[in-house]
Amino acid sequence: MIEIKKLNKWFGDFQVLVDVDEVIERGQTVVICGPSGSGKSTLLRCINGLEPFQKGDVTVDGVSVADPKTNLYKLREKIGMVFQRFELYPHMTALQNITLAPMKVRKWSRRKAEEKARQLLERVGIPDKADVYPANLSGGQQQRVAIARALAMEPDYMMFDEPTSALDPEMIKEVLDVMIDLAKGGMTMLCVTHEMGFAREVADEILFMDHGRIVERGTYEGFFNNPKTDRAKEFLAQILD
């Protein structure tokens, strides 16, 4: 369970996150949407301690991210993260991208790590790309390798930060299919995305953020058919264009 309690963060004088509260139960999929600059990426980075915050707390299975005694490296092992621009290691093949952390962090043998990596490549639908460098993969393939890389650590949670917004339309589906599969398989997921089809299919809850606050929350139907704030209405009208 991830609990976000009255989280506040500033970049200098600028407040990026304002009193963010949220509880993500095991097995849930939570979708976060909102206009650019509303603090979605910053929120994800606060959850796994990549970004410090000034007030409030985040706990992951009861372990506090704000507590200076917490081993953040250990905590991050159980939260996989996928980025908008894939962020694959350019000097490593797909297989090496996936096996690095299991071998160096978990101390798995090369054999075990590679076996796991090949299973994951199979699962994301590109078993034949193991020895290809990221530069020679399409965007959709790169993002699927990135998902496999995160899954290789056998995380309990997965966070996605606009995983399809840098993709050409024809590749969006191949990535969403992998994510839907994961969500249905019981993974606990926190997804920043504007893909409303994805939200409809798997989201247990949708959060709408604006200016660092969660201004609306609810089910897909509640939010989509019945947005309460003008900002949410505007936003929905925009993304449906």
Binding site: L50, E87, Y89, P90, A152
Partner: protein
């Protein structure tokens, strides 16, 4: 006309061997230390950033020959016993060249996006593991042409160690010249040796540049 060279060829080549050895240690140490210096120059911790920045700015603004001299004559006072020219030269070169390699690595690290590093941290990799497997290898590959260029400069600079009596190629050339009195021939030969080695070096640099561009892996 190259008979003075011929008569002393073995002795001179022995000097080239010393030059190679000094270059090898200076480059290995300078590049390894440079990797760390480059990281320190991007550190957000003031107690790391400021001392290292002071060290880099200090050494980059004094001539190498003074560093070699100073180290050779001051170290014995500090450690209480004299040091041989070779280890003294090796240490001087490492601390001097590391500032140059450090700036090359720093530029290399700055080409790496913050989220790429975050991607590594997000899998549980520590700062040092990320440095070792991600940032340093990427910076190394992206900066390879500059690193080779600086290595060629370092190779030439090792001739300055003759001032503390190290019997490398230039020193040995001057020793032979004192006996043979054939300056033009002897120093011409030494120059030719440097030229050949450096030309080979730049060819290697060019090759890697082309290869990197073609593969577009990085």
């Amino acid at each position: 006309m190259f008979d003075a060279v011929g008569r002393n060829f073995g002795f001179l080549m022995g000097g080239l061997w010393v030059t190679f050895q000094l270059s090898f240690f200076a480059l290995t140490g300078g590049i390894l230390l440079g990797m760390i210096v480059g990281l320190a120059r991007l550190s957000k911790k003031p107690w790391i950033y400021y001392p290292v920045t002071a060290y880099v700015n200090f050494l980059r603004n004094i001539p190498l020959i003074l560093v070699i001299f100073w180290f050779y004559f001051v170290m014995p006072i500090l450690v209480g016993r004299s040091i041989d020219p070779f280890p003294s030269a090796v240490i001087s070169f490492i601390i001097f060249e590391a500032t140059y390699f450090g700036e090359i690595f720093r530029a290399g690290y700055q080409t790496i996006s913050k989220d790429l590093v975050n991607a590594s941290y997000a899998t549980g990799m520590t700062y040092w593991k990320t440095a070792r497997y991600i940032t340093i290898p990427i910076a190394f590959r992206r900066m390879l042409p500059s690193l080779i260029t600086q290595s060629i400069v370092t190779f030439q600079d090792t001739s300055l160690a003759f001032v503390i009596g190290l019997r490398e190629l230039v020193r040995r050339t001057s020793i032979v010249d004192n006996l043979e009195v054939r300056s033009i021939e002897l120093y011409g030969f030494a120059a030719l040796v440097y030229l050949v080695v450096c030309l080979i070096g730049s060819q290697i640099s060019h090759y890697f540049e082309e290869k990197g561009r073609k593969a577009s892996i990085i």
